[in-house]
């Protein structure tokens, strides 16, 4: 079992009140699954994947990653986990505009402690993998939305993570671009057994998924999809 959530409650402080966003979430994700998370806006999808990706540690309940609890880990241990085990793809890319494409993709390697000199090969390979091998010297703001998201995927792949979290990766894209991004993720999942957890609004994208999670008002249900 790659990921197991047990009775996760999540509250956000809103003024003096606490807003409960997740209600007793139980969830299991196996190695190699492509999980699509659907649900209305504000239902808690992003909150859920932030917890899965070790970005958020302020929750109640138990999170087992490969059988080990990550609930008690320190901030720098969680940083390490993020660096080594998960890759992020966000709706608005979250690339550093001041840095080149190469530097953006290289960054997780550097935080993994790999010397800058030894990173060129891996970065080139990752960019090649997502089809933008020729863009390494450009800045993100010189690229189209689809190209930016490819950079983000390359960055997510660079440390060979155990899973990828994609929070509405195609949310701001036209159908064609969206399809090309989905092909890349699907290909990674099928051919390289990369586990993908993807939040989406678009039901047509469910055809790429092996499993579906429905989040409604912070309550989670998981179901299997027939291919």
């Amino acid at each position: 079992m790659l990921i197991e959530l047990q009775n996760i409650d999540k509250y956000y402080p809103v003024g003096r009140e606490k807003l409960q966003v997740l209600h007793g979430v139980n969830l299991q994700i196996e190695q190699g699954e492509f999980v699509g998370i659907m649900g209305p806006s504000g239902s808690g999808k992003s909150t859920l994947v932030n917890i899965l990706g070790f970005l958020d540690s302020k929750y109640e309940g138990k999170y087992l990653f490969e059988g080990h609890s990550v609930s008690g880990l320190s901030d720098s241990e969680l940083s390490h986990m993020r660096n080594r085990t998960v890759g992020f793809v966000f709706q608005d890319f979250h690339l550093i505009d001041a840095a080149t494409v190469f530097e953006n993709v290289q960054m997780p390697l550097l935080y993994a402690g790999i010397p800058s000199k030894k990173t060129a090969g891996a970065v080139a390979q990752a960019l090649e993998r997502v089809g933008i091998g020729d863009k390494s010297k450009q800045r993100p703001n010189q690229l189209s939305g689809g190209q930016k998201q490819r950079v983000a995927i390359a960055r997510a792949l660079i440390n060979q993570p155990r899973f990828i979290i994609a929070d509405e990766p195609t949310g701001a894209m036209d159908t064609k671009t969206s399809a090309s991004i989905m092909e890349i993720l699907s290909d990674l999942n099928k051919n390289e057994q990369v586990t993908v957890v993807m939040v989406t609004h678009d039901p047509t994208l469910l055809k790429y998924c092996t499993h579906q999670i429905k989040v409604v008002d912070g309550v989670v249900q998981k179901g299997t999809l027939k291919p």
Binding site: S46, N50, H80, P108
Partner: protein, 400 residues
Amino acid sequence: MLLRAALQSLWNNKRRTILTMLGIVIGIASVIAIISIGKGFQRETVSSLTSSESDKMSVAAYFIPDNMNQSNRSEAFSPKNLADIKRIDGVDSVSTQQSTQTYYTVNIKVDDAVISSTADLLDGSEQQKILVAGSDIDRADNAGKKKVVIIRQNTAEKMYGSAQNAIGKGIDVNGIKFYIKGVVPASSMQMISFNMNFEKDVLIPKATYQQYFEKNKKQALTEITVFVKPNYSVKAVSDDLVEYLNKNGNSRQMGTYGVLDMSQMMQAIGSVINGLTYFISAIAGISLLIAGVGVMNMMYISVSERTKEIGIRRAMGATKGSIQSQFLLEGVLVTFSGGMIGYLFGILVASLIAKLLPFGIYIDIPTTIMTIVVSILIGVVFSVMPAKAAAKKDVIDILR
């Protein structure tokens, strides 16, 4: 990697970086300029104190008579005094060398005018002089205390028509009749390079002068130079010296003894300069403080502008520590490079100023090290808070 991220961010905000740096540059430059001039002066002081007479510090002791008319009646420093002074703790040696600028003057009567003239006292052992007429003063003249004199050609011609005519004739010196033994060429009013004294108007045997004009008076010793052993305080030795002389000095009844401690004077000037150095340094320090606040301001702006970058880096695995280091490094880079530019600029300014001063500037290694340390320290002190603020930011809040 941190270095590259920091450099990149500074480069992306060149104008802000340069403006912030400017404060540090000016602050460090003024401190360096002041210190290098101050140190230059200090070195000048020390070297002028120790230049002559090996490396010993010296103090001049002198006697001031209460009544000027009584002057030179007795010796202010007797041989016993000198022997005692040599035994004072810290005294290395005593020099009784009189200043070479001692003049003897006599009044000579040329026709009816009395002319005050400088006189040289000879004992006959001196180098032969070029004479226009007559002969030089010899040992016999001195031994016999003969009333003979050598005068200048122009004086001789005025009185007796020619130099030849003047030989053997009389001349009134201080009211006593002397015989003209020789005539030397007219005064050229040049410096004689040999002892740097002006040429004298008349030459008289030394013994004769002492016999008729000084009577029993020996050549008075009014000033001595006392050399102080190394590692002894010149001040303490001078105090002992004055105390001894005013208790036991040969002429203590007729006046007071004092010391002219050159080092003390130089120290006084030095301490004024030192005080000035510290004062201006304090002002420069305040300007550095303000520059530091500028750095802090810049760093806070940088942190808030780059919140998104911080969130991305954190998501990619940056720890709080590495975020903090990145911003700290950025601040230190600004102040360090500003400090180095300021250091060079300060030396440049100081050497320009030194062109107007009688001494050169001086920069020592401790000052250089201090500059480096101070500029790094300003960077650290004023970037720590912004860097901590950057590291503390909540990843979820940033990436939402």
